[in-house]
């Protein structure tokens, strides 16, 4: 319990960002939905189109909607210039505002449809103009229903805002994603409790405003609105920029190794006097784009990943050739600096429980292919869509009975629990040793190499002091050291936070 309390108290910044994001999205949603609702109430075809669109948006999973704004904003840079942010607040704001449209629109349109015909006739009969009718009759009568819609929208927005973590916007989702990844349940619960509590408070305040409209009690309307506004202002005030300089932003994908490396580099930079910000839990595809567009300054990637995803290659010309080609390619096409290899490899590999592999007589992927039609393969959420998987599958003719997706953490649990027979493991993962897993040999070399790389954005690459500060990390981390650090975060007993594991790793590599 006390762990949760400690985690809760550590969420102040995230909570403030969350409040600001949700409030801004709700405000934008309202300011778009209300004029649309008025238009819709005057024209049935418009009502149909507008409600249809809002419902369609609602069927898109929030996670996908958030991610979709990255390419949309990227393509809009042609119009608005390179300064247009593609990650963080702006895409999160736009996606959540779209999400907030439906309940507000639907309630406004419904309120208008259910308005007594006699009252509307009277409004015309006493000589109201269209504007007077809207202001004096329709708006006040629809207000309680519209408020109910705004309330629903607020609760949805606060919930969905946790997902904005994946596109680099700090929110309470940071705690949930990081906690899920590292099996730190106190952190997950703290994030959930904070977000649920926020939703309940917002719902209560807006509920008071709604009742104020319904019962025509002005003090309830103003009281509820004032407290809500005060909360938003406090959040904004607590986040006011205290440092003058631009912080160095370190991006991390959503697995433990990345969290640890981000903390390791972060500590290094802080010691050198830099202000540091972390964007943890970014989607793998998002990270590279974020780096090349200098939305983030530093990231960690892997040669094989870039080779297949960015260069779209599926051949395997050898480890060094891949690395050299990559460095050259990044410099030529994106201007991004590949500072160097960190020293270890985190390759995708197929892994099984040792006992199960022995039982089935499997040591190579070719052996596996012969038995695959009776086996279940588990992969992380992106694995089966990755070109590496397709290359390996086709090279060996793998044809599994079932294919299941897990988040990384649960993937290992699935293997030990028998939910999957084979998984897409990572070679630097501490759990390979800890869980007594066996890496199945890739005799054909179908998986490319995955040397871990330290990457610097085109903008940050201009900072020589930054480069000097980072250089000691090149070639410094062995795969055993990385596995140990990963395990310290991933194991169930005596877990460490990524920051503590990073500190231990720093000592181990002699920084």
């Amino acid at each position: 319990m006390s762990d949760i309390m400690i985690a809760l108290f550590g969420l102040g910044d995230k909570l403030a960002s969350h409040v600001l994001l949700a409030a801004a999205a709700l405000a934008l949603g309202i300011s778009v939905a209300l004029p649309l609702a008025v238009w819709a109430s005057r024209s049935p075809p418009v009502a149909k189109i507008v409600l249809g669109f809002a419902s369609l948006v609602q069927t898109i999973p929030a996670l996908a909607l958030l991610a979709l704004f990255f390419p949309i904003l990227l393509s809009l840079r042609v119009v608005f210039g390179e300064g247009l942010p593609t990650l963080g607040f702006l895409p999160a704001l736009l996606a959540l505002a779209l999400y907030a449209l439906l309940p507000i629109l639907r309630n406004s349109v419904t309120a208008r449809e259910h308005m007594a015909a006699g009252v509307l006739e009277a409004a015309d009969g006493v000589g109201m103009t269209g504007w007077q009718k809207l202001r004096l009759v329709e708006a006040p009568l629809a207000a309680p229903y519209i408020m109910a819609g705004i309330r629903t929208a607020a609760v949805w927005t606060i919930g969905a805002a946790t997902l904005s973590t994946t596109i680099g916007q700090p929110s309470l989702g940071d705690a949930i994603f990081a906690g899920l990844q590292t099996q730190n349940w106190a952190l997950v619960l703290a994030g959930c409790i904070a977000s649920a509590g926020l939703a309940i408070i917002a719902d209560t305040l807006l509920g008071a405003v709604e009742r104020g409209f319904a019962e025509r009690k002005k003090w309830l309307i103003w009281g509820g609105a004032a407290i809500a506004a005060l909360g938003v202002i406090t959040a904004a005030w607590s986040l006011r920029d205290s440092s003058d300089e631009d912080p160095i932003v370190i991006g991390a994908k959503s697995f433990s190794e990345q969290y640890i490396l981000a903390q390791l580099v972060g500590k290094q930079l802080e010691d050198a006097g830099y202000a540091v910000e972390y964007r943890d839990g970014l989607g793998s595809a998002v990270v590279h784009n974020a780096l090349t567009s200098s939305e983030i300054d530093i990231s960690f990637d892997y040669t094989g990943t870039l080779w297949t995803n960015q260069l779209k290659r599926n051949d395997n010309p050898g480890r060094e050739v891949i690395y050299d080609t990559l460095v050259e390619w990044e410099r030529e096409t994106t201007g991004t600096l590949v500072l160097g290899k960190l020293g270890f490899e985190n390759a995708y590999a197929l892994a099984m429980r040792q006992d199960r592999a022995e039982e089935l007589g499997i040591t190579t992927i070719a052996d596996l292919a012969r038995r695959s039609s009776q086996l279940t393969v588990g992969g992380d959420v992106e694995f089966f869509d990755r070109p590496e998987w397709i290359a390996v599958r086709d090279a060996y003719g793998l044809n599994f009975e079932r294919q299941r997706n897990f988040t990384t953490t649960f993937m290992y649990d699935a293997l030990t629990g028998g939910e999957a027979d084979v998984i897409s493991a990572y070679t630097s993962d501490g759990r390979i040793v800890a869980d007594k897993l066996m890496i199945i040999e890739d005799t054909k070399g179908a998986f490319p190499s995955y040397d871990a790389l330290l990457m610097v954005s085109p903008e940050a690459a201009q900072d020589q002091k930054l480069i000097d500060t980072l250089s000691p990390l090149i070639g410094a981390i062995s795969v055993d050291q990385m596995r140990e650090a990963n395990l310290a975060v991933d194991r169930l007993d005596d877990k460490q936070s990524p920051r503590d594991a990073a500190a231990a790793l720093a000592t181990a590599i002699g920084l």
Binding site: G118, V119, E121, D124, G125, V126, M128, T129, L136
Partner: protein, 254 residues
């Protein structure tokens, strides 16, 4: 006969809803100060004809003149503010107090109605001035329609339009409010057009009864003329109902 300009004139006015002719080529003069009842069955076109006066319905052809001026030359909301309008739905604004409801017309043109004037208007429909602060949902149906009448008279109109104004009221309230409106009509020298399907009400309140059928005026008589047998068969069938009822009641009593 007076040669003054009629208060309201219809000139070959026609209105169709799709294939149905609601009002077909009606020409009609209504004199200043008269109380005219438009009587007919549902769908006879009586409401449509009246709503063309305040432009809630626009004619397809022909025109409507008020004091000789085409109503289309006036901005519709401003036109409506110059005349009172009472209808069966009453249409009090549920979020406004009685006083705010009464004062709405003048407020639209930027005039604040003084408290005394609201009290006067309430007095005119036989309600105490303490009703001013009440909300519509606290009132009975009859009280609400009284407020509806007070609201219609708030801007000192010359013209009062009423669309089935007493249709939803109980007989006692209906009778009392009908008499009250007639008294106000006389006292304020209004020109009143009342749509009703109740011939007895028309005969008792109006100076002139127009019977409509299928979009045209088929009878145009005074109540006395109607009772003496003038007018078309439709009109006489309508008159027969209250007369037979009165006779049956008289027979019962004797």
């Amino acid at each position: 006969m007076t040669h003054a300009v009629p208060a309201i004139s219809f000139r070959e006015t026609t209105k169709c809803f799709g294939q149905v002719t609601a009002v077909g080529n009606v020409s009609l003069d209504i004199e200043d100060g008269s109380f005219v009842a438009l009587v007919g069955a549902s769908g006879s076109g009586k409401s449509t004809l009246m709503k063309m006066i305040n432009r809630l319905v626009e004619p397809d052809s022909g025109c409507v003149l008020i004091d000789g001026q085409d109503v289309r030359t006036v901005f519709a909301p401003e036109l409506r503010r110059t005349m009172g309008y009472v209808f069966q739905g009453i249409g009090l604004f549920p979020h406004l107090t009685v006083a705010e409801n009464i004062a709405i017309g003048p407020r639209l043109s930027g005039t604040r109605l003084p408290v005394e004037r609201i009290a006067d208007l309430l007095d005119g429909v036989e309600l105490d001035k303490s009703y001013a602060a009440r909300m519509p949902h606290e009132l009975s149906g009859g009280q609400r329609q009284r407020i509806g009448v007070a609201r219609a008279l708030a801007a000192d109109p010359k013209l009062l339009l009423m669309d089935e104004p007493f249709g939803a009221l109980d007989p006692v309230t209906r009778d009392a409010l009908g008499k009250r409106v007639r008294a106000l009509h006389d006292r304020l020298a209004l020109t009143t057009v009342m749509v009703t399907h109740d011939m007895a009400e028309a005969l008792l309140l109006a100076d002139r009864v127009l019977v409509m059928e299928a979009g045209t005026i088929v009878t145009d008589c005074t109540p006395r003329e109607l009772l003496s047998g003038k007018g078309c068969t439709t009109a006489q069938e309508l008159v027969a109902v209250p007369r037979d009822q009165a006779k049956a009641l008289a027979d019962l009593a004797s």
